[in-house]
Symmetry: C2
Subunit: 133 residues, 2 copies
C-alpha cells in the first residue's frame, strides 16, 4: 500500500505553456503503477484561468470538487460545470476546462497513461474562445 | 463529452454481501468507456462500517474526501486515514477500508476494469479484525 498523506506532496503552479492564468496542481497520484495506467491530481483554477486546448490518449475523468467552471469540446458549445458534476472526455477528443471568468473551480482529474504519455498539449484558448464559448 | 450532473445518478446502498454496516455509494463513473478502463464512485461509510476483504485486478486509488477512517492490507498493520490523504493499493492485494468505529469517512474510489471485473469480493472483516487492526 502506498499512502500519500495530506500535505506530503507540494502544490505546484500550472505551467504557462499548458495553462492561461493562475492554476495550482495538487498531486494525488502522479506516477502510474504499472500494470495500472491511472494518474490523478487536484487542479484549481482562479477566475479566468483555464487549460490550453489538449487531448488525452485514453480520455479523462473530471470530478468537480468546488466552485463553478467552464469546459468545451472542439465543435461543441461551452458547458458550465459545478461542484458534484463529473465529465468524461473520450480519447483523442480536443477540449479545454477551467474556471469561469468570475468564479474559481477545482476538479480532480484522472487520466490513463499510454506509451508514456497521458496528455498532448496544444494551443492556448484565446480570450474570445474562452468568453464566447 | 459525457456530463453527469450532480444529482443525476441516484445514491445506492452498499450491498450487505460486500459491506458491513451502513454504506452509501454515489456513482461517479460506473461504466468504463473502452479503451479506457477507469471506473469511479464516491463511497461513504457511517461509523463502524467497512468493506469486506477484497482485491482489485489492476489495483485501486482511494482519495479520502471527508472524515477519518481505517484501512488495512493483509499482513500489515491497520492505518488511520483522513480527508486529503490518498492510498494506492496494488493489483491483487487483499485489503479493506472503511470508517473508524466512532467517525464516518468518505472516499472517491478509482479502479480499472480487467476482463469485465474491477473487484473480487471476499469474506467480511470480523469485529476483532476491524477493532484490533
Amino acid at each position: 500500500m502506498m499512502l500519500n498523506r495530506n500535505g506530503s506532496q507540494a502544490s505546484m503552479p500550472g505551467p504557462a505553456e499548458c495553462f492561461t492564468g493562475q492554476v495550482r496542481i495538487d498531486p494525488i497520484h502522479l506516477q502510474a503503477q504499472a500494470p495500472s495506467r491511472i494518474t490523478s491530481a487536484l487542479v484549481t483554477f482562479e477566475p479566468g484561468a483555464r487549460t490550453n486546448w489538449h487531448t488525452h490518449p485514453l480520455g479523462q475523468l473530471l470530478i468537480v470538487t468546488a466552485g463553478k467552471g467552464w469546459t468545451q469540446c472542439e465543435g461543441e458549445a461551452r458547458v458550465e460545470v459545478s461542484a458534484g458534476d463529473s465529465i468524461w472526455c473520450p480519447p483523442g477528443h480536443k477540449h479545454w476546462h477551467g474556471a469561469t471568468d468570475r468564479t474559481a473551480m477545482s476538479h480532480i482529474a484522472v487520466q490513463e497513461m499510454l506509451d508514456g504519455s497521458n496528455v498532448t498539449w496544444l494551443e492556448p484558448v484565446t480570450e474570445p474562445q474562452y468568453l464566447e464559448g
